[in-house]
C-alpha cells in the first residue's frame, strides 16, 4: 500500500552503486540545461528569472517521490509558460504583484486539478484533446512563443499575445532596434543552431568518445550563457542597449501559500484547467514513450497525482506552473538516468546554483535567453502534420486547422476551445450518420455483403440491413428512417432483418427506435428480426420488453435468418444461374 503511494520505496530498495553514478551524470547534464532554460521560460511567462529556477527545485523533489516515470524531467516548459503568460496577462499587468500572484495561483489550481483527476482516476478526460488538436496547438503555440521573443532579440518594444497584435507592433517599433542586441542575438542563435548537431561532431573529431561527445554537446546552452554574459561584462554592452537580467535574488525561495483572492481564483479556473490538461498530455506522452523503450510502464493516474503535487509545490515556493519537458527528458534518458533520484539530484544542484551562482548572472543578456527559447520551440513546429492529417481525415484536419488559426489569431485558450469544440462536434456528427448497408447473399456461400458493392442475391420479401455503428441517440432515428423508407419503397416486403454484428451497444433511445420500428412494421404486416446480436447487447435487451414484443426472431447468423425467411433463395443459390434470375426479379 505505502509502496503504491510512494513509488520510490520500490526502486530505492534495489538502488545500486551503478544506479547512483548514472543518476549523478544525468542530473549534472540536466542541471546544465535547466539553469538557462528555467530562467528563459520564466522570462517567457513574464516572471522574474528566479521563478523558473524555483520551479526546478521543490516540484522536482515531489515528482521524484511520487512519479512513476524513471526518465521524465519535470520543470518549467515553453508551452505551459506561454499559457501562464496568457492567463496571468489577462488579469494583471506583466511585472506587477498581481501578475506573479496569478502565476502562483495558476500553479496551485492546475496542481489541485491534476491531483483530483488522478485521485478520482479521471485521467481519461485528457483524451478529449485529440492528437491533431494537440499537434496544431503546439505548433501554433511555438509560433507565438518565437514571435514573442522578437522583443528581446531585437531589443525593441514589440508586444502582443497574438499575431494580430504582434505584427503591427513589430512593424511600428522596428526603428528602435538595438544593433548590439541584434548582433549578439544572431551570434548566439547561430551557435545554438550549429551546436545541435555540430558540437558533438566537433568534440568527437577532437578525440572524445561518441557518448561523451554527445553529453558534452548538451553544454552548448551553458557555453552560450557564460560566453555572452562575459562578453557583455567585458565590453560594457549593457550600457549600449543590450538588456541584461540584473539582480537575481540569492538563496532559496520563501515558502508559503500566496495571498488568497476569491475573485482572482475564479477568473483563473478555466485557464488553470487548460494548463492542467495540456501539461498532463505533454508529460504523459513523453513518459510513456521513454518507458516503453525499456519495457517499463507508467501509471497515468499516478502520474497525474505526481504532477499535481509538483505544481502544488511550485505554487507554495514562489515558482511557476511546471510539467514534464520533452528535450530535458530525452537528455535525462540518454544520459542514463536510472531512477527518479536523478530528478532529486537535479533539484539539489539547482538549489546550490541559487546559493552560489546568482551574482554571476547579472550581466546575462536577455537576448541569449530569447535565443535559447527560440531554438527550443523551433523543434516543436511541425508544419507537415496538417497536410498529412488532412489527407487521412478531413474532420481531423479541420479540427487541427481551426486550433492553429484560433490560437495564433485569438490566443491559446480560444484555440484550445475551438479545437476541442470542433472535434467533438465532428465526432458527434459522424456517429449521428452511421454507415448502413443493405445486404444480399454472395451466391453459393454463407456470406452477406452490401448490395451496392457486391454481386449478391436478394429476396423481394426480405430486407436485410447492417448498421456499422453502435445504436445510440445521435443515430437512433437514422435506422428508423431507413427502415420506414424501405417499407414504403417495397410493396412486397414481409420481413426486415437487422444484422447487429457491428453493434456494441444499444441505448434507451435506440431501444425505443427499435420498438417503434417493430411496431410500425407490425402495423404494416411485416415481421422484424435481428441477427448476430452480441452477448452484452443481448443481456441488456433481455432486461427490457423488446424481446417479448419482437414480432420476429433473433437469429444466430444472417445465414440462419435467410434459411428461415427465404428458403427458396438460399437453396436456389447453390445454382448460380437461378440466383441471377432471382436477383433481377428482386429489383
Amino acid at each position: 500500500m505505502l509502496r503504491r503511494i510512494f513509488p520510490f520505496l520500490t526502486w530505492s530498495r534495489h538502488y545500486t552503486r551503478a544506479d547512483l553514478s548514472n543518476d549523478l551524470i544525468a542530473a549534472a547534464v540536466v542541471t546544465i540545461m535547466l539553469i538557462p532554460q528555467g530562467m528563459a521560460y520564466a522570462m517567457l511567462a513574464g516572471l522574474p528569472p528566479q521563478a523558473g529556477l524555483y520551479g526546478a527545485m521543490l516540484p522536482l523533489l515531489l515528482y521524484a517521490a511520487f512519479g512513476t516515470s524513471r526518465a521524465l524531467a519535470v520543470g518549467p516548459v515553453a508551452v505551459v509558460a506561454l499559457m501562464t503568460a496568457a492567463a496571468a496577462g489577462a488579469v494583471a499587468q506583466t511585472g506587477t504583484e498581481g501578475y506573479h500572484l496569478a502565476a502562483l495561483w495558476l500553479a496551485l489550481l492546475s496542481g489541485g486539478m491534476m491531483l483530483a483527476l488522478g485521485l478520482f482516476r479521471l485521467g481519461f478526460v485528457a483524451n478529449f484533446l485529440s492528437h491533431p488538436v494537440i499537434s496544431g496547438f503546439i505548433t501554433a503555440a511555438g509560433i507565438l512563443i518565437a514571435a514573442s521573443q522578437l522583443r528581446h532579440i531585437l531589443g525593441a518594444d514589440v508586444s502582443g499575445k497574438t499575431l494580430p497584435h504582434l505584427v503591427p507592433s513589430l512593424l511600428s517599433n522596428l526603428g528602435q532596434t538595438s544593433i548590439p542586441t541584434v548582433v549578439l542575438s544572431a551570434v548566439v542563435l547561430g551557435f545554438l543552431f550549429w551546436s545541435r548537431a555540430g558540437l558533438a561532431r566537433l568534440l568527437q573529431g577532437l578525440g572524445f568518445s561518441a557518448p561523451l561527445a554527445k553529453l558534452l554537446g548538451k553544454t552548448a546552452l551553458l557555453v552560450a550563457v557564460v560566453t555572452s554574459t562575459f562578453v557583455v561584462w567585458i565590453f560594457g554592452l549593457d550600457s549600449r542597449g543590450v538588456a541584461v537580467l540584473g539582480d537575481v535574488p540569492r538563496g532559496l525561495p520563501a515558502f508559503g501559500l500566496p495571498a488568497f483572492d476569491a475573485g482572482l481564483i475564479q477568473m483563473l479556473l478555466a485557464p488553470a484547467a487548460m494548463i492542467a490538461i495540456v501539461g498532463y498530455v505533454e508529460s504523459i506522452s513523453i513518459a510513456q514513450t521513454l518507458a516503453a523503450k525499456k519495457r517499463q510502464s507508467v501509471d497515468p493516474d499516478r502520474e497525474l497525482v505526481a504532477l499535481g503535487l509538483a505544481n502544488l509545490g511550485a505554487g507554495v515556493s514562489n515558482a511557476m506552473p511546471v510539467t514534464g519537458g520533452l528535450s530535458r527528458s530525452i537528455v535525462n534518458y540518454d544520459a542514463g538516468a536510472a531512477t527518479p533520484a536523478a530528478g532529486a539530484m537535479t533539484a539539489i544542484s539547482i538549489a546550490m546554483a541559487l546559493m552560489v551562482l546568482t551574482p554571476f548572472m547579472y550581466f546575462l543578456p536577455r537576448a541569449t535567453l530569447a535565443a535559447i527559447i527560440i531554438v527550443a520551440v523551433l523543434s516543436l513546429l511541425d508544419f507537415r502534420a496538417l497536410p498529412r492529417i488532412w489527407a487521412y481525415s478531413r474532420a481531423d484536419g479541420a479540427a487541427m486547422a481551426a486550433t492553429m488559426l484560433f490560437t495564433v489569431l485569438l490566443g491559446v485558450e480560444q484555440g484550445l476551445i475551438a479545437g476541442v469544440g470542433l472535434s467533438l462536434a465532428l465526432f458527434l456528427y459522424r456517429t449521428s450518420r452511421p454507415h448502413m448497408a443493405v445486404l444480399g447473399q454472395v451466391p453459393g456461400t454463407e456470406h452477406f455483403r452490401n448490395i451496392d458493392r457486391h454481386d449478391v442475391v436478394t429476396d423481394p420479401q426480405v430486407f436485410s440491413i447492417r448498421v456499422d455503428e453502435s445504436l445510440y441517440f445521435p443515430n437512433a432515428r437514422a435506422l428508423e428512417d431507413r427502415v420506414v423508407q424501405a417499407l414504403s419503397d417495397r410493396p412486397a416486403l414481409r420481413h426486415v432483418v437487422l444484422q447487429c454484428a457491428a453493434v456494441n451497444y444499444i441505448d434507451a433511445s435506440a431501444l425505443e427506435s427499435l420498438e417503434s420500428v417493430n411496431e410500425r412494421l407490425h402495423t404494416a404486416g411485416v415481421q422484424f428480426h435481428l441477427s448476430e446480436v452480441k452477448g452484452p447487447v443481448m443481456d441488456r435487451l433481455a432486461r427490457s420488453n423488446f424481446l417479448r414484443e419482437l414480432t420476429g426472431q433473433i437469429f444466430l447468423t444472417q445465414f440462419d435468418a435467410m434459411i428461415a425467411l427465404a428458403p427458396g433463395l438460399t437453396s436456389a443459390c447453390r445454382n448460380r444461374d437461378r440466383c441471377e434470375t432471382r436477383r433481377a426479379s428482386g429489383h
Copy 2:
C-alpha cells in the same frame, strides 16, 4: 422539381370525391377540438385567446402546401405554449405589448431555424435530444402546465414558472379560492375525464354506430365549452368570481412583420432554438407513426421546411409558435383525413368561426379552458418511463431524471440543457472507455473469445486483443495504455495482434496511437499485427504511412494470424488435452 417543393401538386392530381368527403369530415372534427384547444393553449402561453385561433389558420394553410404528412394536425400545442410562456416571460411582463412581441419573434425565429435546418438537410441535430430526455422533458412540462392552470381552476392568484415558485404561491393564496369557480372546474374536469371513454360508449348505447359514436365523442370539448358558457351567462357567474374570456376580436388577424428589436431577438435566439428542436421532434415522431400505419413515409427535412414556414406564417399573423399536436393528429387520422387538404379546410373553418362565433365567447369561463389543458396534458405524463429506462440503462435513466428535476425546479430551458448536456457527457464517457477483450482460441475451432469468459488457449508469445468500439480520440489512449501494460507484464511477448472486427472507423488520433504502439513494440522487439480489418478502414489506412511502417502483418482472420504466429498452438489444439497444458503454462 416543382412537385418536390410543393407536395400538394402530387396528391391533388388524384384527388377524388371520396377524398374530399373524408377530408371534410376530418376537418370538421378537428375544428371542433381546435377552437377550444387553440384558445386554451394561447391562455397557457400567456397570450390573448385569438392568438391561438390565428395559429390555427395561416400556419395550417402553409403546412398543407409544403408538408409531407397526410395526417399531421398542426397548430398550437401545450408543450410549445409552455416554452413560449417561459421564454417570453423572461423578457417581458405577461399581458404587455413586449410579451406579445416576444411570442411573435419566437415564432419567426424558430420558424426561420426550422426552415434553415430543413433546407441545409441538418435535421439530424434533433437526434441529440435523446428519447429519455424528451420523455422526461414532456412529463416534467406536463406537471408544470397542469400546476400553472391551478390559478384558473381555483380562481386564486397562483403564479410562478417552476415548482419552487408555484407551490409557495399556491399555499399562500389558497384563501382567495373562488367557490363557484372550483365547482365549475370540478364539473367540467369530471365531464372531460368521463367523456374520454364514456361519451362514445354512451352514444353507442343510444344506437349510434361505433365509428360515428367515436367521432361524436370528440365533441366533448365543444359540449363543455358551450354548456359552461351558457351556465355562466344564465346564472351571471361572472359577477360571482368566475373569470371569463371577455371580448375576443372578431374577424381575421392583421398580417405583417412585428416590430424589429435587435436586443429582444438576441435574447430569444436560444429559447427559439429549443422551441424549434422540441417542436420538430414532437411533430416528426407523430407524423412518422401515423404514416407508417398506411405504409406512407414522411421526409424529415421537408417536414422541417413545412413546419418552419408554418411558424413564419404564425409570426406574421399575430399568432403563436405552432407544431404538430398529438391528440388532434390522431383524431384527424381516425376521422379519415386523406390528404393535407383536411388541414386547409380546418384553417378555413377556423377563419369562419373567427368571423361569426367570437361574440358568443364572452362568457366562456377560463376555468373550462384550464380544465381542457389539464385533461390534455395528463395524457402526456408517463411516470413509469423513468424506472423502466433506469432498469435498462443507468446512463439514460440519469439523463432523464436530470431533465425532469431541472425542468420542474429551474425551468424548461434549464431542464433541456441539463438533459442534453448530461446525455452527451455520458455518451462521450462511454466511448472513452471501450470494452476490450484479450482473446484466446476455443480449442479445436477457428473461434477466438475473451479469455476471462471462456475456456480458451493462448500462447505466451502472442497477445491478441479485440476492441469493441471504433478507435477515435476519446478512446485512442485506452488501447495504447492496455498494450503498453501487456508489454511490461509479459516478458516472453513477441507478437501483438489487434483484432479489428468491431472497428468501424480509425481517426487521426487513433492512427497516431497505433503508430506509437507499433513504434514502442518495435523498440521492445515485439511485432504488431492487425486482423479482420474492415474494407473502409483499410482504405483509409492505405492513405497513411501506417501500413508501410507496420512491423507485422494484416491478417484476413484471427485464425490466419494464429496459424502464422503460433503454429504450435493451433496444431496442438486439435488435441484438447495438450491445449489445456499449453494454457496452464501460458498463464
